[in-house]
């Protein structure tokens, strides 16, 4: 039976985003084109932020998972194209919510707007303030909720 890109995409659902467990790289929209020629597989890995330190680890993990299925893969990191939040699957968004992140209400291209319309993921209140647009990773911003008092993180995509 010959390999198909769909099959490979299915296998790659076993590779989690190292910084957001429970969400796979496929659901994060980080897997670009997949091509298969003879038995050689080529997978595009599209980083969310260019400086994401997990890229090397992901390259290795993708190679390992495909090797377990007997496929030889070359994983190419793509910088010449932007990752877009629109590339995420509904499962990806649901996984982020489950992990406790607030999600942007609207995918504005203006960072001010994106950071202004946020609700607390714990109690739903909109009485929140931005503590810092920069958080523990490039894709997180830190907020505080004035209703329930909790600190929380917004999933902050490149805009």
């Amino acid at each position: 039976m010959s390999l198909t890109p769909e099959q490979i995409r299915q296998w790659l659902k076993a590779v989690p985003d190292p910084e957001i467990p429970h969400v796979s790289v496929v659901d994060m929209g980080m897997i670009g084109d997949i091509s298969v020629e003879a038995d050689q597989v080529r997978v595009e890995l599209v980083p969310t932020f260019a400086g994401c330190p997990a890229i090397r680890l992901l390259q290795e993990q993708i190679g390992e998972v495909l090797a377990q299925h007997g496929a030889q893969a070359e994983v190419e990191v793509v910088y010449h194209r932007a990752w877009r939040p629109e590339d995420m699957t509904p499962e990806g968004w649901a996984g982020l919510r489950k992990a406790g992140f607030a999600l942007p209400k609207r995918l504005s291209q203006d960072p001010q707007e994106l950071l202004a319309e946020v609700a607390c993921p714990k109690c739903g209140s909109e009485a929140v303030s931005l503590v810092s647009p920069f958080g523990p990773t490039a894709c997180r911003a830190i907020f505080r909720c004035h209703s329930c008092g909790e600190a929380f993180e917004l999933f902050k995509p490149p805009v």
């Binding site: 932020f49 400086g51 932007a82 810092s132 647009p133 958080g135």
Partner: protein, 254 residues
């Protein structure tokens, strides 16, 4: 053509790498915890951008990102002297003004590259702009905040402008092989980019009543040649720190 491309890409990449290093030096020293995190996060982005630029050259058969970053003699770097300047006594006003002037230049350069004719660079510029918007927002927010606060804050911003202005001006020193780049439509001439940069920053500086000093010939003269390999007196110490670990085991696989 490859020389022109390397000249352009290294000027962008080396600015990012060295700016990233200087910002990372703030880790643990920020005036408030959130600024510590902000500079660390921006530093990580800039370093990642440098890597992506170097990779573009690697894909053309030139050196690998690690070779460019860690195994290159000082005179082969192409950064502007603005990013080489040390953090001196860690004056936040100075760091903020550098961040503002530099990130404004990044906005202008990336927008020009995005509209340029060299597809790999145009695509990369589109990607990087989506991250850089947060940097620009950070710089302008703090400039407005501090520019309208105390006399002490304004004094520090004014003195930073005086000190940094010639360096910022020289971000737009024409690049070696620039004619070729312009003719190919990759990027407009440096003088034109400087005009766009002035258009971007002038209204913001007016808003907080910060004057733009006149760049005198004698302040600019010692800064000439950065894009052709002339390094500032601060560069050697920076490079030896940046490359210390890599140099300890040059053939190591990381």
């Amino acid at each position: 053509m490859i020389e022109a491309l390397e000249s352009l890409v290294l000027s962008l990449a080396d600015d990012e790498l060295i700016m990233g290093h200087r910002l990372a030096e703030w880790i643990g020293l920020g005036p408030i915890l959130e600024e510590d995190i902000a500079f660390a996060s921006i530093a990580q982005d800039e370093t990642g951008h440098a890597q992506a630029y170097y990779q573009l050259l690697t894909d053309l058969g030139l050196e690998t990102p690690d070779r460019y970053a860690f195994h290159r003699p000082a005179e082969r770097f192409r950064c502007a002297h603005l990013v080489e300047l040390p953090n001196f006594d860690y004056d936040y006003g100075l760091a903020l003004v550098r961040h503002f002037l530099y990130d404004a230049a990044e906005q202008v350069r990336l927008q020009a590259l995005r509209a340029g004719s060299y597809d790999p660079l145009a695509g990369l510029a589109e990607r990087l702009l989506r991250e850089e918007k947060y940097h620009w927002m950070h710089a302008t927010t703090w400039l407005r905040q501090l520019g309208r606060s105390t006399e002490e804050a304004h004094l520090r911003l004014r003195s930073a402008m005086q000190q940094l202005w010639p360096y910022a001006w020289m971000l737009f020193e024409p690049l070696p092989h620039e004619e070729e780049m312009v003719e190919a439509g990759w990027i407009p001439p440096s003088t034109q980019l400087r005009e766009r940069w002035l258009e971007l920053i002038t209204p913001l500086l007016r808003e907080v009543e910060l004057e733009q000093p006149e760049p005198s010939a004698e302040s600019l003269l010692p800064l000439q040649g950065a894009r052709a390999g002339l390094r500032s007196p601060y560069f050697d110490a920076l490079l030896s720190e940046l490359t210390e670990v890599a140099a300890s085991e040059p053939d190591a696989e990381w």
